[in-house]
């Protein structure tokens, strides 16, 4: 009986600490594995990509003008890094954007990477993702090496700093990632209950 109470207390404490971490707005240093389906209903697990050198996770949207401003850049990022061992995964956590809408949007904008639908924004909550586009770069051990914007300008012709690409290039070249976190304006992820 005592052991059961002790375990329950430990679990509660762990949950409390985890909640504190997320409440503080800090991204977890290591991503938890998750399972989500893509817009065709095919299920993927994050651990499916452990053979990649690294994984880029991008929280994206179909209706957000900022995210849409990055469509071409996201498509190019996937094309440029797919043969370098980097997996690119898009996640749509917006409650108002259906899997069918995500599918049509991906086709229209040549987003040829895997795009998963996150019903109930469970994965967005786990990552602490708030806006679109918001990106995370993970190594194969699912450690988060970079979190933030794709680059420093919503306008493609005014980019001065390719933050996500810089992180990927430094990682692929075996160098230390110099900038591991950035911020940018974006559309809020439309969560359930919000």
């Amino acid at each position: 009986m005592r052991i059961k109470i002790y375990i329950a207390a430990m679990l509660l404490s762990a949950a409390f600490v985890a909640n504190l971490l997320f409440a503080a707005g800090g991204a977890p240093s290591k991503a938890e594995n998750f399972k989500l389906k893509d817009y065709n209903g095919k299920e993927y697990s994050l651990s499916d990509f452990k053979n990649s050198k690294g994984i880029v996770i991008m929280f994206i949207a179909t209706q957000c003008p900022v995210s849409n401003g990055y469509n071409e850049r996201m498509a190019r990022l996937f094309a440029d890094y797919k043969d370098k061992g980097i997996t690119v995964i898009g996640i749509n956590s917006n409650k108002e954007e259906s899997a069918e809408e995500v599918k049509i949007h991906a086709k229209e904008h040549n987003l040829n990477f895997i795009i998963l639908k996150d019903p109930g924004n469970i994965v967005a909550d786990k990552f602490g993702a708030s806006v679109t586009p918001e990106t995370y770069f993970l190594n194969k051990d699912l450690e988060i090496l970079y979190h933030g914007r794709i680059d420093d300008s919503r306008r493609g012709d005014e980019i001065k700093s390719q933050d996500l690409r810089n992180a990927l290039d430094q990682f692929l070249n075996g160098k230390k990632i110099t900038v591991t976190g950035t911020k940018a304006f974006g559309c809020s992820i439309k969560r359930v209950g919000a």
Partner: protein, 164 residues
């Protein structure tokens, strides 16, 4: 005769310092200007809203802010749009006019979005809308992330007013 001349004169004098729907002026705000806006309180608390025309939740909560600005004369209301400066005439002013917003409105003139974000709150990740309330001494007393209701805004203003 004198009173007939005096009345228009009084009207002009009374409203010359006010922004009206026809005279909405959106100027660029940079780090120095924003810091000055926050610090120079002159006894009033500051309600500062960050928004963009492309941000639907921002557009949805904006009428509540306009309504509150009409109700609280002792609170300074200001809005900073993070649209681009070259979108003032085409996007920002038409939206402000349609909402009858006559408080001070600015457009971000920050070279990097991150500088504006960090100036207002280092814990803010940049999601819009966002609202900050500063007390009469320029001290930040509230940071509201995401779309808020009229009641929530009002409660936060009342709290900032009483200092509780």
């Amino acid at each position: 005769m004198k009173s007939r001349l005096l009345f228009p004169f009084l009207l002009v004098t009374l409203f010359s310092g006010f922004t009206t729907i026809d005279t909405i002026n959106v100027t660029q705000i940079n780090s120095a200007k924003l810091t000055k806006l926050i610090k120079e309180r002159k006894g009033k608390i500051l309600f500062l809203n960050l928004w963009a025309t492309w941000c639907q939740p921002c557009r949805e909560e904006f009428p509540s802010i306009v309504k509150l600005a009409g109700e609280f004369n002792d609170v300074e209301f200001a809005a900073v749009s993070i649209d681009y400066p070259d979108e003032v005439e085409s996007k920002i002013i038409p939206f402000l006019k349609s909402n009858k917003a006559v408080f001070n409105c600015y457009v971000s003139g920050f070279k990097h979005d991150e500088d504006l974000i960090n100036l207002l709150d280092k814990h803010w990740n940049g999601s819009l809308p966002a609202t900050f309330i500063f007390d009469r001494h320029g001290k930040k007393v509230a940071f509201l992330s995401g779309k808020q209701s009229y009641d929530r805004f009002k409660a936060e203003i009342l709290k900032a007013r009483t200092g509780k």
